[in-house]
């Protein structure tokens, strides 16, 4: 006998992600999920974001890494509570890992939670965490063809940072070609070319962050 099921296998994770979102909403915390390839500059963007905002809003970070605490240590050095999740070899954070991390934070005393996902352009796109915004960091040395190779990642984010603009001249990176691929999948996506190293372009990103946090959910 055949029994019809028609269920997405990721739905269990999606439901947990929704419950994470409710917890954040109840505590008035705005959550941001940062995704990127390894080495694109996730931790640098976090520290660059925390630095000017920490006197203004109460921030915490959740850092997903396969094994080490190096990134979490870099963030914690800025004096913000940081929860490290060692995924033990897993390629992404999932909603259950985030749920456990949320329990380690005093959510009622926070306004902004920044989650650094595991460096990977494939798997994190499939696992919702329940954050309010998803941000992708691309970087110049990765090449300009990534929007064409990872459509599931590029279509699902709310903002795109293009990091390491300071080395643009050294690479065959066609910014117009890159953006055309992004616009084909995700028209009107907020786009921030910047350099975390020099600080160029950071002001626009920080202005966006402030405006989005004020807009809140949806």
């Amino acid at each position: 006998m055949r029994v019809s099921v028609l269920e997405e296998v990721f739905s269990a994770n999606d439901q947990l992600a929704e419950s994470n979102r409710r917890r954040l909403d109840e505590a008035g915390v705005f959550g941001v999920n940062l995704m990127a390839s390894p080495g694109a500059g996730k931790t640098s963007l976090i520290t660059r974001t925390i630095e000017p905002l920490r006197g203004e809003v109460r921030i915490a970070a959740v850092d997903g890494d396969i094994a080490t605490t190096l990134d979490a240590d870099r963030i914690a050095a800025f004096g913000v509570p940081t929860v490290q999740i060692n995924t033990g070899g897993a390629c992404h954070l999932d909603a259950a890992m985030l749920q456990r991390a949320l329990s380690k934070l005093d959510l009622n005393h926070l306004a902004l939670l920044i989650v650094e996902n595991v460096g990977n352009l494939v798997c994190p796109a499939a696992f919702k965490l329940g954050m309010h915004r998803s941000v992708l960091i691309a970087s110049v040395p990765e090449g300009d063809d990534k929007p064409y190779k990872y459509p599931v990642m590029y279509r699902g984010v709310n903002a795109l940072v293009l990091n390491k603009m300071d080395v643009l001249a050294a690479f065959d990176f066609d910014v117009q070609y890159f953006r055309r691929g992004v616009e084909a999948l995700n028209p009107g996506l907020a786009f921030f070319p910047m350099s975390c190293k020099t600080g160029e372009g950071l002001d626009l990103w920080l202005a966006w962050r402030r405006a989005e946090r004020k807009r809140g959910g949806t």
Binding site: M1, R2, V3, S4, V5, L6, E7, E8, V9, F10, S11, A12, N13, G89, A90, C91, H92, D94, V122, C123, A125, A126, F127, D145, Y148, K149, P151, V152, R155, R180, G181, E183, A184, L185, P187
Partner: protein, 113 residues
Amino acid sequence: MHEFSITQNLLEIALRHAEKAGAHHITRLNLVVGELSSVIDESVQFYWDIVARDTLAEGSELCFERVPGSLRCLGCSNVFSLNGRDYACPACGENQVVVAGGDEFRLESIEVE
């Protein structure tokens, strides 16, 4: 790397439907796996034999229907495959697309006794 937890979710869904149908044994699961879903079917199969042990699904067969990644042009609705280089519609040249298929990982049905 993430197929273990996915396989556990799969078992939970299959057992729930089998129990609802009053089945004694699950013989087969019919799955749809998209090329862009980040799921590797050989890996699911490997874990399946472990997680299904001592359940109604022990010894059941996994059948994967693979769906290639495809895009739909928002200009003319033409559906075409990904080439990894550009998104221009081969029919009309428009550069606005949505992913039309290949991102799914779904349990379509189970066969039970």
